[in-house]
Symmetry: none
Subunit: 207 residues, 2 copies
């Protein structure tokens, strides 16, 4: 498994390299120190995983990731940060990063990289619990309107993700079927999905 590490602190890249290479399955194919380098190196080296700091000068990790994902939608990008920051989580989440872990938690880095390589999406436990709340509340930054799901909407999503029909959801939540249809219509629009099946998939992948 080929990993590219990008962090503007060279001490961090160096120690991450050591940690990761202590695992025989992992090969660090390069390190960089800026968002720009991240993009260039990613394109040149085509690693399986890009492990990148979220805060860097010039170009933030988020911007770099967006650029990369625009060119290579399947890129597996994992963010590193020294603290848990709601804005960043939502952003990382929104642009399609595979995960987000705290640098502090060094022991979890190797298993997380491996899990991502296996196709998992790994948001740290302390973070994954926040995602529904993040989606429903706050998130007033630009371009985030479409992610503000209400309590009720989340409740409905859960029912869809349990395989219930509109009629069944209506019964369960004491709403009319038409109302449920409307809710789902709004949810799909907010999340940019087409139908309830994609919604269920979204739920299992991201929530």
């Amino acid at each position: 498994m080929k990993v590219l590490i990008v962090d503007d602190d060279k001490l961090v890249t160096a120690s991450l390299k050591t940690i990761l290479e202590s695992d025989e399955d992992i090969e660090v194919v390069g390190t960089g120190n800026s968002g720009k380098e991240a993009v260039d190196l990613y394109m040149k080296l085509r690693p399986d995983i890009l492990l990148m700091d979220i805060r860097m000068d010039e170009m933030t990790g988020i911007e770099a990731a967006e650029t990369i994902l625009k060119r290579e939608g399947k890129a597996k990008i994992l963010f590193l940060t020294t603290f848990s920051d709601d804005e960043y989580i939502v952003e990382a989440f929104r642009i399609g990063a595979k995960g987000y872990i705290l640098k502090q938690n060094y022991e979890s880095i190797v298993p997380t990289v491996k899990a991502v390589h296996m196709g998992q999406r790994v948001f740290g436990d302390e973070i994954i619990t926040k995602i529904p709340a993040l989606l429903s509340n706050s998130a007033n930054k630009q371009g985030m309107e479409e992610y503000c799901l209400t309590e009720k909407e989340i409740e409905i999503i859960k029912h869809v993700a349990n395989g219930l029909s509109n009629k069944e959801i209506a019964k369960a939540l004491y709403l009319s079927e038409g109302t449920v249809r409307n809710y789902i219509s709004v949810i799909l629009e907010k999340l940019g999905l087409r139908d309830r099946t994609q919604l269920a998939i979204f739920y299992y992948k991201n929530m």
Copy 2:
């Protein structure tokens, strides 16, 4: 990480407890000795992981797991057994267990529990290779006919689980839309599901 252990052999629960608690991340919050206890204790203690024997009197592990998953769909249940038994694997797999490991292989228990806790699904190496075969071929035991999925059917399931419409699947597989509808109809019947959304959910839970 809170773990609940259930096995009708008290020696087993005791030794598992010792093994698991040798890891500082793991706390064994309870032990039980029957399927019934598994359900009661699970509901009371809400552990992160339920590690349960698959063969027990009164209520088998499978039944207990089904009961629990009906109430708490996100429960992480990991089965233990002393031998590798195809029937059980398929069952554990079908009802949405997170994994299945052999008691023999004591060293693998801690890492497996951790991986499951991190959201992985872990079926032992000797077992995971069998799953596609189990789903597509063989499985001649009673009540198993409905699990014989053909290659094509599996291919279609994957497309459904990627959120494609019938039209899109038809295009991708060079079939007519009607044919795709027919395939899906058959798949749903075989798996006892009602619609494509439930199929996508089934896929993410079991495949």
